[in-house]
């Protein structure tokens, strides 16, 4: 890393960031109660970001040897001669920095026999459901970084991820995920039990009636929407037209949205961002008011603000999304719908916030705070700004959720949102 950095600087590059990543991971994929594939992976890579006269180049080196590094450096120099400057580029962070301690790291995870805990989880779910499918994943990562601005940093992380979908009869299913960076906090059996519980509650679903309802979003259902909302706070997405959060200091509702890469128990915490700035907790939306976008050093300088330590060298990005709002009984509704999972969120217009998404797995009609009927065939067709404005309250229990559609770990409670438009095929 140091060699590549110094050679690139010698050859006239202005800013250089070199990172090294080594990852070992395994996966057990199970279907119809049985493992159908084991997966194992070992990768390493040196990633290179460098600039010359505001021209930005990125590449990587996988075959790590001096001769391959020299070859790559030559290519980078030639490449830089043929590309154009990014007039918005304003440099990288100046070090050195001091870093706080690591988030929880469990080096034993990668050497565990994961099939034993998976067997227990599958059996737990099968106590009250007919079949299950999902994944168990474990990993161990090493990450270090040096820059031309006197930054040297390193971090280790470990993780476990479990996703289980339980089924009974046709259209009766429940899905629950959990993740942790230590085996100690990994609630795999509880998660399996909850997926099966939702599948059981989903018995004999009926078509819902069209209309506007108060909707209670479970942890799994709200996390993908929070991913969308947090990504809309990246200044890059605002500039490119991918964001419905277009005005700073505007009130969008009554809730708080944060990014926090320092959480001890998150699978995605990191001591530093992609340019080596020590990470922190950033409140993007404070009591409904959009206080800041997510920035790296370069975008922050453009807008005359401080970096929020969210580099992304191309696009600033959240690490761990944290949501909060007024506490209350989310089920305290006269008539509403409880949604336990969503998928396929798509926008008609990102900047206006027009979107639709499809509840999947258990969805329930709630009357006077109680589940009275399992539902199917729903779609939420609404606008993100309306949704934010109508956030009412959340319960106290916060879970860390990562899922197919919530790739950024999200710490969320269950949330009640009023006046959500429910549509379905009318033919």
């Amino acid at each position: 890393m140091h060699y590549i950095k110094s050679e690139l600087l010698k050859k006239g590059m202005d800013d250089v960031i070199i990172s090294f990543d080594e990852a070992e991971g395994r996966q057990l994929k199970f279907v119809n109660n049985k493992v159908v594939k084991t997966g194992s992976e070992l990768t390493s890579s040196i990633n290179i970001f460098c600039t010359k006269d505001k021209k930005i180049i990125s590449t990587s080196l996988k075959d790590i040897s001096k001769s391959k590094a020299d070859e790559l450096i030559k290519k980078v120099i030639n490449f830089s001669k043929n590309v154009s400057p990014n007039e918005d580029y304003n440099g990288i962070a100046k070090g050195p920095f001091k870093y706080k301690t690591n988030s929880d790291y469990d080096k034993k995870i990668i050497d565990m026999n994961e099939s034993d805990i998976l067997e227990k989880a599958i059996n737990k779910a099968l106590e009250s459901s007919k079949r299950v499918a999902g994944n168990l994943e474990i990993w161990d990562l090493k990450h270090c970084l040096v820059t031309s601005n006197n930054v040297e940093a390193e971090d280790n992380s470990s993780g476990l991820y479990f996703s289980i979908r339980a089924f009974n009869e046709n259209d009766e299913s429940g899905h629950m995920n959990c993740c942790s960076n230590t085996l100690r906090d990994f609630e795999i059996e509880k998660t399996a039990e909850r997926a099966a519980e939702i599948a059981t509650l989903a018995k004999d679903p009926k078509e819902a009636k069209l209309g506007r309802y108060p909707v209670i979003f479970s942890h799994m259902a709200f996390a993908p929407l929070l991913n969308n909302i947090a990504e809309a706070t990246s200044i890059y997405n605002v500039e490119a037209g991918f964001s419905f959060l277009q005005k700073l200091n505007q009130k969008y509702g009554d809730f708080t949205l944060m990014d926090d890469a320092t959480l001890q128990d998150s699978i995605n915490s990191c001591r530093f961002d992609e340019e080596g700035v020590p990470t922190r907790r950033t409140v993007m939306i404070d009591n409904g008011i959009l206080k800041t976008y997510l920035h790296n050093t370069s975008t922050a300088k453009k807008y005359n603000v401080e970096t929020t330590a969210n580099a992304g060298l191309v696009s600033p990005k959240p690490f761990n999304i944290v949501f909060d709002c007024k506490k209350g009984d989310v089920f305290d509704v006269k008539e509403g719908i409880y949604i336990t999972n969503i998928w396929y969120t798509r926008y008609q217009n990102y900047s206006a916030g027009d979107f639709s998404t499809i509840p999947r797995d258990g969805a329930f009609l709630i009357k006077n705070g109680k589940i009275v009927q399992s539902l199917k065939g729903l779609r939420i067709s609404d606008n993100m700004l309306n949704l934010l404005k109508n956030i009412q309250c959340c319960n106290k229990k916060v879970l860390q959720i990562k899922s197919w559609e919530a790739e950024i770990p999200t710490f969320t409670p269950e949330v009640l949102i009023n006046n959500i438009n429910i549509t379905k095929p009318t033919q």
């Binding site: 930005i56 990587s60 075959d63 590309v83 499918a133 490119a240």
Partner: protein, 465 residues
């Protein structure tokens, strides 16, 4: 790549694997972003590595690494086999269909070669387009090229080498008028050299499209709800056939293998020969289309690719299969197994999926529609995970009155079930057009290049929301 692949095939066999296949891959890529006229970041990369899939005691294992150090690979291979053995008590026995061994070496030729295009020429392609639309407040353009070299071998004697170049250019635009906005996202892609850009002609096509969308935003009416005929353009036909025919006919979904990720299917194994659409509907899946974005001649299990009819005369005709599902269904694989990179297992994937041509001209379809909507393009769409309930929201759309397009319509919505959609078709155009996409499936998520398309079609008596 060849030597390494052969070495590990042998090693895996020595370690007790009954069946082994090795994919050694090398992808050379470059990419460029132009955001609001400003070159954002440019990059190049070489992604190379090896993926080994094996059966040991009839349990399936997959291992991958980008480290070509023989000791390291051997170490991860042994560790992987241990994991597979440790899981055997809770594992399913997996069998593959018997298939013919294949030997092949093929490549897609390029007239204007990727390696001959300098970085400034590539960036200029985006700048030329941007110059024509630089009055728009937000323009996001990306260009990527790659040359994917693959060497595949398996323990049954198949040996297949391929070289496929790909170009993709995506634009995402925000058009504003009187404090309102409309957005357009469109990927273009092909297995080709840079000569494909002439065919795409984007510097001319995009500004024309922007003007039509601006008219839609300015003058589009939204009070066009209720039952009427809906004419969908080839772009909407394409997304509909991909989502509601291609996906539910993937045999792994039908058997539940993707249940916790991309979902299952409303189709079951007994539905072959079931009437699912109008008799004039034929749906084709064909990886062998020259220069298509989903092009390949052999899949990632070494099976020769072929054209197949998913729907023939409105009846379900064939599912997409790999060797695992073919064994369960007691037939042969039809070559749909694809992995988007060396480091992931191959899954059943679409390639180029389209509705076959009908016998009406586009003019005839409009002319014969008394009252309806023409939804030429779309922005938002989604479908449930069994592929039964779907929604498409129009971008460029028009009212049809007495056989003529009379005024633009703003964001008409069709929310419909799959059988209703395919049974309502009573006219199909002659001209088939294809659109590029990156289809997502699996865990880890694999985005894979595909085409989807077809002709203009008319759906009778559809509720527009």
């Amino acid at each position: 790549m060849k030597e390494v692949a052969e070495f590990y095939l042998k090693k895996a066999q020595e370690l007790g694997c009954k069946y082994v296949e090795v994919r050694a891959e090398r992808r050379s890529l470059s990419g460029f972003i132009l955001k609001n006229g400003n070159p954002d970041i440019s990059g190049f990369d070489i992604i190379s590595g090896i993926g080994i899939r094996y059966l040991i005691n009839n349990n399936l294992g997959f291992v991958s690494t980008n480290n070509f150090d023989r000791e390291k690979i051997l170490h991860v291979l042994k560790k992987s086999i241990n994991t597979t053995r440790n899981s055997s008590k809770i594992s399913k026995d997996i069998y593959f269909s018997d298939e013919k061994k294949e030997t092949a070496n093929y490549k897609v030729s390029q007239k204007e070669k990727i390696r001959d295009f300098t970085e400034d020429r590539k960036l200029n392609i985006l700048k030329e387009i941007d110059k024509e639309i630089n009055k728009l407040p937000q323009r996001y353009l990306t260009l990527h090229d790659e040359i994917a070299e693959k060497y595949y071998i398996n323990s049954e004697g198949s040996v297949i080498s391929s070289v496929i170049p790909r170009i993709s250019l995506m634009y995402f635009l925000t058009i504003t008028e009187n404090n309102k906005s409309i957005q357009r996202y469109m990927p273009n892609g092909a297995s080709s050299g840079y000569e494909i850009l002439k065919k795409w002609n984007l510097a001319k096509r995009i500004p024309e499209e922007v003007e039509l969308l601006r008219n839609n935003l300015k003058d589009g009416i939204s009070q066009t709800k209720g039952k009427m005929d809906l004419v969908i353009g080839s772009e909407v036909t394409g997304i509909a056939v991909h989502e509601s025919v291609g996906h539910p006919y993937e045999a792994d979904r039908i058997l539940g293998r993707e249940a916790a990720q991309a979902g299952e299917s409303f189709v079951n194994l007994n539905m072959i020969n079931t009437q699912i659409g109008a008799k004039i509907v034929n749906v084709v899946e064909d990886p062998t289309l020259e220069n298509s974005y989903g092009f390949y001649l052999y899949d990632d299990e070494g099976i020769k690719a072929r054209k197949k009819y998913l729907i023939k005369n409105g009846m379900i005709n064939e599912f997409l299969q790999n060797r695992e599902t073919a064994f369960e269904l007691k037939n042969k694989s039809n070559g749909c197994s694809r992995a988007n990179n060396y480091d992931v297992e191959p899954l059943i994937r679409m390639s180029n999926t389209y509705v076959g041509a009908g016998d009406s001209s586009e003019d005839e379809i409009i002319k014969e529609t008394k009252k309806g909507i023409y939804m030429k393009s779309y922005m938002q769409w989604n479908i449930d995970d069994k592929r039964f309930h779907q929604r498409y929201t129009g971008s460029e759309a028009y009212l049809i009155e007495n056989g003529k397009l009379t005024k633009p319509v703003f964001a008409p919505v069709m929310e419909v079930t799959t059988p209703t959609l395919w049974s309502s078709i009573d006219m199909i155009g002659k001209k088939v057009e294809m659109y590029a996409g990156n289809c997502g499936k699996g865990q880890p998520m694999q985005g894979i290049p595909v085409y989807f398309g077809g002709p203009m079609m008319r759906l009778k008596n559809i509720t527009i929301q």
